[in-house]
């Protein structure tokens, strides 16, 4: 399972070419930011852009652990709630979603960075902490039925429409 968005490659390639014609390659950065924010915010709201529906609910044991975690005053991420399934516990994984513009390849990569996780989550008795990276956690989460790194059709349309507006602005500038 991927910790990188794959279904935007063609979109970014074509939009990058269009932006080259329009002399506005700076807009690629805006598009990367838009895509990144849409993934994170939609996930935080409990929905998956990959499946188009609510993120799979939490098991009872998981909810108990999460309640315990909160009661112990441990650090929790934005919009954490014990029963809420929005891929948020400490908040580290979603905070690690990033984008990078690779102009030479007309690409924008959106990915979960392989950064370390200073806040260790709960471990079951007798088990050692796994010390996974955020990328590894994202892969595991997707493998376990909660894929989130992708873009929906409406998000693609938003990006396409942003570029259209830029091109129209450039057309207007050509008027004497």
């Amino acid at each position: 399972m991927s910790a990188k968005v794959k279904n935007l490659d063609r979109v970014f390639r074509k939009l990058s070419s269009v932006l080259e014609v329009a002399n506005r390659k700076d807009v690629l950065t805006n598009l990367g930011q838009f895509a990144r924010d849409r993934i994170v915010n939609t996930t935080k709201s409990g929905k998956s852009l990959v499946t188009g529906s609510k993120i799979l609910g939490l098991k009872n044991l998981t909810i108990k652990i999460r309640k315990w975690w909160k009661e112990k005053g441990k650090p929790v991420g934005r919009l954490f709630s014990p029963k809420r399934s929005n891929l948020t516990m400490t908040g580290q994984m979603l905070d690690a979603v990033q984008f990078k513009v690779i102009e030479s390849e007309k690409k924008v990569n959106i990915f979960v960075a392989p950064t370390s996780r200073p806040i260790e989550g709960p471990t079951l008795r007798g088990q050692r902490p796994e010390r996974l990276t955020n990328e590894q956690v994202a892969r595991r989460v997707a493998r376990d039925g909660r894929p989130f790194m992708g873009m929906d059709d409406l998000g693609k349309r938003r990006m396409i429409e942003q570029v259209r507006r830029v091109v129209r602005e450039e057309i207007k500038k050509q008027f004497k």
């Binding site: 063609r10 074509k14 269009v18 014609v21 409406l154 396409i160 207007k172 050509q174």
Partner: protein
């Protein structure tokens, strides 16, 4: 001043058909680049006014407490300003639907966003917050922005030709992605 545009306000269709000949009082041959640029400015006008929290007319009711406490409201980092923007999908997909002769039509071609726009504009199941249209002052500003070019019948420059072809590339991309 009578509106120089015709508005269609229905749950299945939300569109403004703008008559450039009426706005500019001329039978000039409007070029495609002019129509695209004007339509874009009209869209920007509506979107910016709405996102600044200003109604098309009247007043907008404030957000309810229950809405402000909802998960989507918080997930998308909204604040108290009423601006018809949660995910941004509705205003972000307001687009040029048609462009020919002296007419441009702006609106939505996505049924979900159309219904959303209708709902907000008319208050069908949410508080009425009219936003879709152009105020007289806005029309006058658009007219002022474009009045010199409206008279121009000069052939398009090569760069404009490239930009218009770029718009066609974008249309093709939507077809390829199956999201038109």
């Amino acid at each position: 001043m009578a509106k120089p545009y015709k508005d269609v306000i229905k749950e299945s269709e939300m569109a403004l058909e703008i008559d450039l000949a009426k706005i500019f009082g001329t039978k000039a041959r409007f070029t495609e680049e002019f129509r695209q640029a004007f339509a874009n400015s009209a869209i920007q006008t509506i979107v910016e006014r709405t996102q600044e929290g200003r109604p098309l007319f009247g007043n907008w009711r404030k957000y309810s407490e229950s809405y402000k406490e909802s998960l989507p409201f918080q997930a998308f980092g909204k604040d108290d300003q009423v601006n018809l923007t949660l995910t941004g999908d509705m205003l972000g997909t307001l687009s040029v639907l048609e462009s020919s002769g002296s007419k441009v039509v702006i609106g939505w071609d996505d049924p979900t966003q159309t219904a959303k726009a209708f709902n907000h504009h008319t208050g069908d199941t949410v508080p009425k917050r009219p936003f879709f249209g152009l105020q007289n002052q806005e029309i006058n500003e658009l007219k002022s922005q474009f009045k010199d070019e409206a008279q121009s019948l000069e052939p398009r420059t090569r760069r404009v030709g490239d930009l218009l072809r770029a718009l066609e590339t974008i249309d093709q991309l939507e077809q390829e992605e199956g999201i038109f």
